[in-house]
């Protein structure tokens, strides 16, 4: 069900694009928000992509109405003239910088092999944020896409440190117990940083605000509910994220809730947007001169105020 011009306010279909090929913990509430929309008479579909730019592609082409992608990807696309707008924070960074036990803080990474997802990615951003206060430390940066692959490389000794997701940190602890520890908790140290955003086309945002609002409200409601029942969240994670046993799901749920990665208020305050843009600029992921300003890339006005955890 493609809808090339998502025009009418009374639209009863909603196609959603994820920037991942397989379901991830961070997106479990999104998934259930979409499920909930079905009970409101909206037919939803979910498409999985290999990267954020593919999700952007799908939305721009009208294959999907909404998508998630890294803030950096969406902002870069906007800068190149792709007609999309971020409308909500999907989640805040669920990342940890993990290093060998011998390394105490990011300053100790000098000369070590540190893995990155790609040149333009959240891992780069967070590694830069971690190293911000230690300008003297010059690690050797290696590009290894796939958090799982980086974990594999760390276990195999091909990599010393990397920014990894919660789930991978669990794996790492299990497969190489005692060898690694967390030296930098990204979400904890950067409460305002946006990791991933929900976006739609500028046209949809402009011409069908009610439709967008309806969707965002559903997401916000679901986000709020996660904080009320950690057990239900763990069960949801175990049932939707591949290869996650109940024990791991429980840990993931707890970690995520502790880091408050799902903003029930939409997490889209001007402060957060500015902090994210600043971080992108200072870390050199997007060259400073042509960064979009907040108005170009974001619309915070479609969120439902007052839903809180």
């Amino acid at each position: 069900g493609c809808s090339p011009s998502p025009g009418g306010e009374g639209k009863t279909t909603l196609n959603f694009s994820y920037s991942n090929a397989v379901q991830q913990t961070e997106k479990v509430p999104l998934h259930f928000a979409l499920e909930n929309l079905k009970s409101q008479g909206i037919a939803t579909t979910e498409a999985f992509h290999q990267s954020g730019d593919d999700a952007v592609q799908a939305v721009v082409r009208g294959e999907s109405d909404f998508g998630t992608a890294n803030a950096s990807t969406v902002f870069a696309a906007v800068r190149k003239g792709v007609p999309i707008k971020a409308v909500m924070t999907a989640y805040r960074p669920a990342y940890l910088l993990v290093a060998p036990a011998s390394v105490a803080d990011p300053g100790g990474l000098g000369g070590k092999r540190v893995g990155l997802q790609s040149k333009i990615s959240s891992t780069t951003l967070y590694t830069n944020l971690a190293l911000k206060d230690f300008p003297a430390a010059k690690p050797q940066l290696l590009i290894i896409p796939g958090s799982a692959n980086r974990v594999q490389a760390m276990i195999a000794g091909q990599l010393d440190a990397s920014v990894v997701q919660f789930s991978d940190w669990l794996t790492l602890r299990k497969k190489a117990p005692g060898q690694f520890h967390v030296i930098y908790d990204v979400a904890e140290r950067n409460p305002d940083i946006i990791d991933s955003v929900i976006f739609t086309t500028s046209q949809t945002a402009d011409s069908a605000p009610e439709y967008v609002k309806k969707f965002l409200a559903a997401v916000q409601t679901e986000y709020a509910s996660t904080y009320r029942d950690a057990g239900k969240l763990a069960a949801s994670i175990a049932s939707t994220v591949p290869k996650t046993d109940p024990a791991a799901a429980k840990e993931l749920a707890e970690e995520s809730l502790k880091a408050k990665i799902w903003p029930a208020d939409g997490g889209f305050s001007p402060v957060a947007v500015k902090a994210t843009l600043d971080a992108l600029r200072t870390s050199g992921i997007l060259d400073a001169g042509s960064l979009p300003d907040a108005d170009q890339c974001c619309r915070a006005d479609l969120l439902t105020a007052g839903i809180g955890g």
Binding site: A21, V22, Q57, Q152
Partner: protein, 251 residues
């Protein structure tokens, strides 16, 4: 075949070498236990799981892409071959482009295709066509061009007109290489479809591979690769069989 069974009673050398490799695999897997090499039974269990769990149903999209791609390929290649076989000028004008396209590393075009057309069916079909179209066009051109001069003259000497010559001589003479073109097209098309799916990573075999490798399921990854290999071999054997049937008279 007879000589073969005489020298290796009951065993065929190719089967034997295959079994030897599998045995070596299993021995390494259970003795050295490298992380990257799952034990054979684990892989076979996964193959069985793939088959029985219905996970292979994603191959439906693969088949659709392949069919669409081959359809387009055969139409395009047919047109190009028809043009090139029809006239010397047309052939010499088009040939550099067709052979040139043959030396393009087609797989490098996939990012451009996804940039252009997204992750959808269109990109995958175009990739399939890009892989298959020039070899098929070349094979078909030579099939159409090879003129069995003596046979044509023979038919003419019995009063056959151009249409009778085409029907009774040129077409049957070209049949074998035309079928060979189809075989090449299918083999190349499978490569194209699978390449597109793996690079795009979210449909068909690509989805299987991505899921397995992102969830660290190494045994399953091996199983998927084995299934892909097995399926392409089956296709290939099928095509060979058809081709042999059609050219029985050459024996």
């Amino acid at each position: 075949m007879k000589a073969r069974s005489r020298r290796f009673p009951g065993i065929r050398a190719d089967v034997a070498s295959g079994v030897a490799v599998l045995a070596a695999w299993q021995i390494v897997a259970v003795t050295v236990r490298p992380q990257w090499l799952p034990e054979l039974p684990a892989v076979l269990t996964q193959v069985w799981a793939l088959v029985t769990s219905g996970a292979l149903s994603v191959l439906g999209t693969t088949a659709v892409t392949l069919l669409l791609g081959l359809l387009v390929t055969f139409v395009l290649a047919g047109a190009a071959a028809g043009l090139m076989a029809a006239g010397d000028v047309a052939e010499r004008s088009l040939m550099p482009y067709v052979t040139g396209f043959l030396s393009v590393p087609h797989i490098a075009l996939v990012p451009l295709f996804t940039f252009l057309w997204g992750n959808g069916e269109l990109t995958r079909v175009v990739t399939t066509v890009a892989f298959a179209v020039s070899p098929v066009a070349l094979t078909w051109t030579s099939a159409l061009k090879q003129s069995p001069r003596e046979l044509v003259e023979m038919a003419a000497s019995f009063g056959a007109g151009p249409s009778a010559v085409a029907r009774h001589v040129r077409l049957p003479a070209a049949a074998a290489p035309l079928v060979a073109g189809v075989r090449i097209g299918v083999v190349q098309g499978i490569k194209g479809t699978v390449s597109a799916e793996i690079l795009i990573g979210i449909v068909g075999v690509g989805k299987l591979v991505t899921t397995a490798s992102q969830t660290f399921d190494i045994a399953r990854l091996y199983a998927i690769v084995l299934v892909i290999i097995a399926l392409s071999i089956v296709f290939y054997l099928l095509l060979n069989f058809v081709e042999d049937r059609m050219t029985r008279w050459t024996s």
